[in-house]
Symmetry: C2
Subunit: 346 residues, 2 copies
DNA sequence: TGTTAGCACTCGAATATCTTGAGTGCTAAA
DNA sequence: TTTAGCACTCAAGATATTCGAGTGCTAACA
């Protein structure tokens, strides 16, 4: 068990190091006003803390820096986020969500932008899982005799569209029938049930009433599968470059490459879903390459159901307290905002 | 006027430097098989070329590197692109455009991806200016009593949509009238005429037949203005990081920052429109910050009308010949592909 | 007159050497 | 248990040294 003094010293070191990115020496701590023990004492405590694995030395005669374990302790026990809600933050976040935006995508983008701007870290926003979304209407608008565009509108106001070739041997009336059947069968049923419906009932009806339906059916069902990488928004990747831990170009390249592959980020963020606030520190992250990267995630909800998550990516040497406060409030704001947006019947 | 030998030397230096990124010395050139004059002679010629401003020395006892003026000469006179069409390129580009893609956006993305992959430079693709596009259909689909989504389909198959609040005091029948008027008036008229039509005829009709039209009219007309930054696609920004001229983090940051501001890139690329192939070298570019950046642009056309441009951004130390070949062919392929895509009546 | 061999000179880059100072660990005394 | 004191460590910065690729110039040559 750590003594009160040891905790204090650990905290001091983390706070210092987060700010300066320089190893923290015993003397600099002993100079603090509220410290009435000497540098030598601190050195002894530091040695103990190091032995326990909370601190490290970059080299034998340098000051200490926190280890991952040290950050972990700091985050888990030394932070009390709830108390410390400076008003400044609240209001500015509130303002963002009060300015009624009616497009989900716009809200997402804005969230990512504000998150990264306020923290100077990279922000990731995962769009809401639309598994409960229902089809509002499917329309097919012919562009010519050979092509048409299919438009799908969900009750959340999301619009998806796809241009496709009209099969040569398909008549206009067949096309109409096709659309009618899909509309009748799918309207108001949630997206997640589509696949089942498609392969049973609908397939049967189509076979019965529409000639040459296979090709078009195939084209469109593929097209309307929700696309993962359109659901993920970044912001502030350039902020990384300002951090001293990224003075090395190769590291930046790796990091940006990793971010570019949205699938990876998606699955990582998605795994965090339904877990509320999460702080991953350094190698705790799946991607061992990024030893000195931390990631904070939070989830947001619509009407109380968790539907997505947002995240902040920065150096392990992160301003956890501030970042956690901000991400929490953003998640709350996002929840409120989206809930309002989706409650058309209000 | 430069002698044949001087031209040869300049070319040799550019070719060498492009490959190695190291200053080129007289001896390394004299070792070439097809050179039968000595290093000393080359040194003399080099001194002359330097005096004329085609070459530079990073420091007084180093080899020479090409100046912007040198590159310019190289590009304008020493390159004959047309002859040298290795088949490898042609077929792989053709393949890309042969795989029938029916979404304009998909074609653009793919073009950007292939461009950057083949060249290892940053690619920019500016979507086709749709000034001649015509409205196919405007639809409004109510989501609830308070909200609706407006969907606009152009004859090119482009779909634009916007969620908006239905004004409280507007009835369903008014909403229908509103849509009908817009459809009647705008269908088949090109986008560039809308603004005029809107403010004259349509405004008049609306005032006459629809109550409370102002708010909604205003919401939607703003929403359907084409958005610049959705029209521009990048790819391969990470390629920059591999270039030795970008070993400095600050430089990368500036560059990426510049690219992130799509408006700038857009206007630069747009200005190149209707000029065919363009090569900007170093400080010839508007942005003097990027002294050692070159940019190659080419335009593409639909049915012979230039509608957009594509570009490659790389170090001045660029493989101009190869890059020009590739971008030219991509532009051609894009033109063919888009022309086919837009010719629904074929 | 153009070309070339030869040679002294230049200067960046790599390597080694020195200096400094912040920081430590340990010991012995309070 | 705490602290003053002191020897010791080591990265980082400053300085010096070496090395070699490359130049410019001169004088001889074809």
């Amino acid at each position: 068990m750590l003594s009160r003094r040891q905790l204090y010293i650990l905290q001091a070191i983390v706070d210092d190091y987060v700010q300066t990115a320089e190893p923290v020496g015993s003397r600099s701590i002993s100079k603090r006003e509220d410290v009435d023990f000497s540098a030598a004492t601190i050195r002894n405590e530091m040695a103990d803390l190091e032995e326990m694995g909370f601190l490290m030395k970059p080299h034998s005669s340098s000051g200490r820096i926190p280890s991952h374990k040290g950050y972990r302790l700091y985050v888990d026990q030394l932070l009390n986020v709830t108390e410390n809600n400076h008003l400044g933050l609240i209001t500015s976040v509130q303002q963002l969500f009060d300015s009624r935006v009616s497009e989900v995508e716009a809200v997402m983008r804005k969230t990512a932008a504000v998150l990264s701007e306020m923290t100077n870290y990279v922000s990731v926003v995962l769009g809401p899982a639309m598994s409960n979304t229902k089809l509002k209407q499917l329309q097919i608008i012919p562009l010519s005799t050979t092509q048409a565009v299919a438009i799908l509108v969900t009750d959340s106001g999301h619009v998806e569209n796809r241009t496709f070739d009209i099969p040569r041997n398909m008549s206009i009336s067949d096309l109409e029938k096709f659309v009618n059947i899909l509309n009748e069968q799918l309207t108001d049923s949630p997206i997640k049930q589509w696949e089942a419906l498609m392969s049973n009932e609908i397939e049967r009806l189509l076979r019965q009433h529409v000639d040459h339906y296979e090709k078009i059916h195939q084209d469109l069902s593929a097209a309307f599968k929700p696309k993962v990488n359109e659901q993920i928004f970044y912001n502030g990747m350039l902020n990384l470059l300002a951090q001293p831990e990224f003075k090395d170009v190769e590291k930046i390249r790796q990091m940006l490459e990793w971010l570019e592959d949205k699938k990876e980020v998606y699955s990582l963020l998605n795994a965090m879903n339904s877990k509320g606030l999460t702080v991953k520190i350094g190698e705790e992250n799946r991607f061992e390459l990024f030893d000195d990267i931390s990631m904070i995630t939070a989830t947001y909800a619509i009407d109380g159901d968790t539907v997505g998550s947002i995240g902040l990516i920065g150096p392990t040497r992160m301003q956890y307290e501030r970042a956690i406060q901000i991400i929490t409030q953003m998640a709350d704001g996002l929840s409120t905002s989206l809930t309002r947006l989706y409650r058309h019947d209000a």
